[in-house]
């Protein structure tokens, strides 16, 4: 039986619910993520300034908790914020956390 919570977290979102990557207030990079899978990919691709901007504002935490409805991932990202992680270290850790969570959910979904 497929896990309904995992399927919810892994779902593809409509464009108005996607995460839009900015580098500062009002400056949109053109990159967006409309699912956890895309979010994992984008953490590798977007400008690190964008990752720092959104981490500092709490945008990643908010989007993962409120839109993806994944509180566990939101908590893990919150921890990164509290540690003051930045630069390429932020990229690596954010990518690791998000990709691990994606693989977990994918495994749960296919059980």
């Amino acid at each position: 039986m497929r896990d309904s919570r995992a399927s919810r977290i892994l779902r593809k979102l409509p464009r108005e619910k996607a995460f839009y990557f900015f580098t500062s207030i009002g400056n949109y990079t053109g990159e967006k993520a409309a699912s956890l899978k895309e979010f994992v990919e984008k953490t590798r691709e977007v400008n690190v300034q964008s990752l720092e901007f959104h981490l500092h504002r709490g945008d990643f935490e908010r989007w993962t908790a409120e839109t993806l409805e994944d509180n566990k991932l939101a908590d893990q990202i919150g921890r990164l914020k509290r540690l003051g992680t930045s630069g390429e270290s932020l990229r690596d850790q954010l990518h690791l956390i998000a990709s691990k969570r994606y693989e977990e959910q994918k495994a749960d979904y296919s059980v």
């Binding site: 464009r15 108005e16 996607a18 839009y20 900015f22 207030i25 009002g26 400056n27 949109y28 990079t29 053109g30 967006k32």
Partner: protein
């Protein structure tokens, strides 16, 4: 005023009335007539026709938001779009109450320039992230926040007086 081939042609009197109205739109027909030397009935008639033709779009108040104690942030957005979607993006932006002006510009690529107002920087960002970035055809956005306004007139005396 004459209408030729569906184009409105304003005469000197129309232009003088417009200039007077732009200086002070609260003037009465008599006051305008007095200042430009024609009867108030002529002013009434000309203004009515210019309203009908959409030359006078509306009468509005130009506010000083800072003096009114209304905190605000004004920003200029430059929106890079897919050329096929530019018109749709411009039309959708024009429907949003936070957007004061929308223009298109062709430099190296087709751009949309829009003036936007919000209560503060957080609201500005939230508006752009939730209402502008998701519009189909938006490729990227550059936003400049206005730090000081040196002139904000909204009138075009210059063009009106240059017509002759």
């Amino acid at each position: 005023m004459k209408i030729k081939d569906q184009t409105v042609i304003l005469d000197d009197l129309d232009l003088r009335i417009l200039k007077s109205l732009q200086e002070n739109s609260k003037q009465t027909y008599t006051e305008i007539g007095h200042s430009i030397g024609v009867a108030h009935s002529t002013v009434y008639d000309r203004i009515g026709k210019m309203e009908e033709q959409g030359i006078i779009k509306k009468y509005t108040a130009l506010l000083d938001l800072d003096k009114a104690g209304l905190k605000n942030v004004t920003a200029i957005m430059t929106i890079f779009t897919d050329p096929k979607e530019s018109e749709n993006v411009a039309e959708r932006l024009s429907e949003l109450k936070e957007v004061l002006e929308v223009m298109t510009s062709l430099s190296e690529e087709l751009l949309i320039i829009a003036k936007v107002i919000a209560k503060n920087q957080d609201d500005l960002h939230s508006f752009i992230a939730k209402s502008v970035a998701p519009l189909p055809g938006v490729l990227r956005i550059r936003t400049s926040i206005v730090t000081r306004k040196y002139k904000e007139d909204g009138m075009n005396h210059f063009l009106i007086s240059k017509q002759d």
